[in-house]
């Protein structure tokens, strides 16, 4: 009995562990290893980790790929641009998502499921198709320009494609549900009597929102922001289809290095550095979550 229970538990914990080991840790180690090699014209297109000199093995670690990232301004500016785009998009998602999540959380029991359904509804269509649809909307002879021209509001088509604006539209549109859902999950748990207590003590609604609702929503805000920010930094499809051609995001740089330049070591170095950039906020988030869990555990002694 005891044996089967522990082995069952091991199985349940083992499957995801194995999954993560095989599909996350092993590829990561491969990429990590490739980033410390040099490019060569062969198959595979990078130098081996262990070289043989006079019958003796020696470890060949090249840091030239990393050094290269810091010599060519393309990489630095792509990193910074990616961080900027992700940060602005996250902020926009938060500004849009917070009132939406709040409205859903305060909606009547009958309308709440409908509203939540509407938030999730876009996932039923392919992500790629939805981004392509934005091209049809934003193009020089797209839907928006045609409508505005017909109405006489503008006389020349607006240039919206291949701008920062189009990238923000695409990212905010695609990632908004990832902001709304954790925010909703948080706001929905709020005790309305706290707001009544605030009103009773003399706080008008806007001040009650700032002093009570917002501080209590911080875990939801953090979770939603990370869910948007992290994938947005490495976003590839949206900037490629809608974005600028003179300024690339790091995800695009990475694929170009792999598939266009076939410089696997540099591409790997780009990936490793991006991972480091993202690991910092993830670690911060985890530390924050742990604090939350501890605080909550303290609440029910």
């Amino acid at each position: 009995m005891r044996l089967t229970r522990t082995s069952g538990r091991r199985l349940v914990a083992g499957i995801p562990t194995l999954w993560l080991l095989l599909l996350f840790l092993v590829p990561f180690l491969i990429v990590f290893r490739v980033s410390f090699s040099e490019v060569r014209l062969a198959i595979p297109p990078y130098t081996p980790l262990i070289a043989w000199h006079h019958g003796r093995p020696s470890l060949e670690l090249h840091t030239s790929a990393y050094a290269f990232l810091f010599t060519d301004p393309l990489y630095i500016s792509s990193y910074l641009y990616s961080l900027k785009v992700a940060a602005v998009s996250t902020l926009l998602c938060l500004l849009l998502g917070l009132p939406m999540a709040y409205a859903i959380a305060r909606a009547s029991d009958a309308t709440r499921p409908v509203l939540l359904m509407l938030v999730v509804l876009p996932f039923w269509t392919s992500f790629l198709l939805r981004v392509y649809a934005w091209i049809g909307l934003l193009n020089t002879n797209g839907v928006i320009n045609n409508v505005l021209l017909t109405l006489g509001i503008i006389h020349e088509p607006l240039v919206m494609m291949q701008t920062d604006f189009a990238v923000y539209i695409g990212i905010v549109y695609s990632y908004l549900p990832f902001m709304i859902l954790p925010l909703y999950a948080n706001l929905e748990k709020h005790d309305i009597t706290l707001l009544e207590a605030a009103a009773d003590l003399g706080a008008p609604p806007w001040r009650a929102f700032l002093r009570i609702t917002l501080p209590l929503a911080v875990p939801g805000i953090v979770a939603g922001s990370l869910l948007v920010f992290i994938p947005a930094v490495g976003e590839y499809v949206i900037p490629t289809l809608l974005g600028r051609t003179d300024q690339l995001m790091i995800g695009r740089v990475l694929t170009d290095e792999f598939f266009e330049n076939r410089d696997w070591p540099v591409a790997s170095a780009v990936a490793i550095l991006m991972l480091l950039l993202l690991v910092v906020p993830i670690l911060l988030f985890q530390r924050y979550q742990r604090r939350e869990v501890e605080a909550e555990a303290g609440e029910t002694p």
């Binding site: 005790d191 009597t193 706290l194 009544e196 207590a197 605030a198 009103a199 009773d200 003590l201 003399g202 706080a203 008008p204 001040r207 002093r211 009570i212 501080p215 209590l216 605080a295 303290g298 609440e299 029910t300």
Partner: protein
Amino acid sequence: MNSPQPVAGPPPAAAHDPSAYVRVVHLTKRFGDFTAVDDVSLDIRRGEIFCLLGGSGSGKTTLLRMLAGFEKPTSGSIWIDGVDMSTIPPYERPVNMMFQSYALFPHMSVEKNVAFGLEQEGRGREEIRRQVAEILEIVRMGGLGARKPHQLSGGQRQRVALARALVKRPKLLLLDEPLAALDRKLREHTQFELLNIQQRLGVTFIVVTHDQEEAMTLGTRLGVMNHGRIVQIGTPSDIYESPATRFVADFIGSVNLFEGRVRGAGAGAGPLQIECDDLGCTVRAGQAPRALVNGTVWTAIRPEKINISREAPQESGGQNAVAGTVREIAYMGDVSIYLVQIDSGRTLRVTLPNTERGGERPIAREERVWLSWHDSSPVVLSE
């Protein structure tokens, strides 16, 4: 003794209590088809503790929430200190509330919770700090100001909630089941502490409770609510000794109720005589409303106002005395409860104080006994 005020209609404006601090006039609240508060009129004096007492769904909490401004009345009005509250939002009312769940802000320390109300008034930092310290001292929470609500016990939270509601020195404090979340020992203690604080600060309290004991000890006056209406308003002893309806008699304490008819023209002198078929004797009632002639009435007799004896009482003449058999005895320590089945088949509840320690031979189960009472004991009710 004051006669209970039947709340048939609200007092006309000219006749209202001039010392009334809170006036509730023809107040009604409907939620869809459900009438939570039904045409309630009420005057509450400055400095009193008014308890709204009723079961769940009686409308007492809705009435309280309308006073605080969280619910808009469907019709009627609320006046506090001569000001119509109709258009005044909760955050501008001179009222503070202590919530049943306490509603402490979980992300703020005790001090921050208490300071919140003062900060809304834009007081100076030093003044806020002083007043917070002062009120925490009054509720004996001095030293615990840095704690978060989840680090406090139930009784401590209750006191923080009280301090937070009192720190703005409201003229009117609303308390929603203030003691419900406390255990029995703590309740009694806190009850007297509340009274103490109320007298010290001279605040008018309106307390909502379903607990009659809480209402009796706290309230200077009680308003008993049922189905959204106020059934009776009076002092605790008014309500207990002279209930206006069967509902009140039954809701407050326990009571033996019997249906009967008034015999003869009750208009003359002498005590009223009521035939009660399922009691098996005529009830003589000394104090009774005179208007009840020949109609169906109910007599209510409190268990502690019935005597129990082995011999038939003298000169009863078949009135105010019945014979029966003791079926159950519950020893409660200070009192014993006897369930006596009378010869008509009904069972009466009688309580006797245990005044002596191991005295004479006590009455035992299955013993034949006589129950009797004074003319002043029965209360005659017409509804």
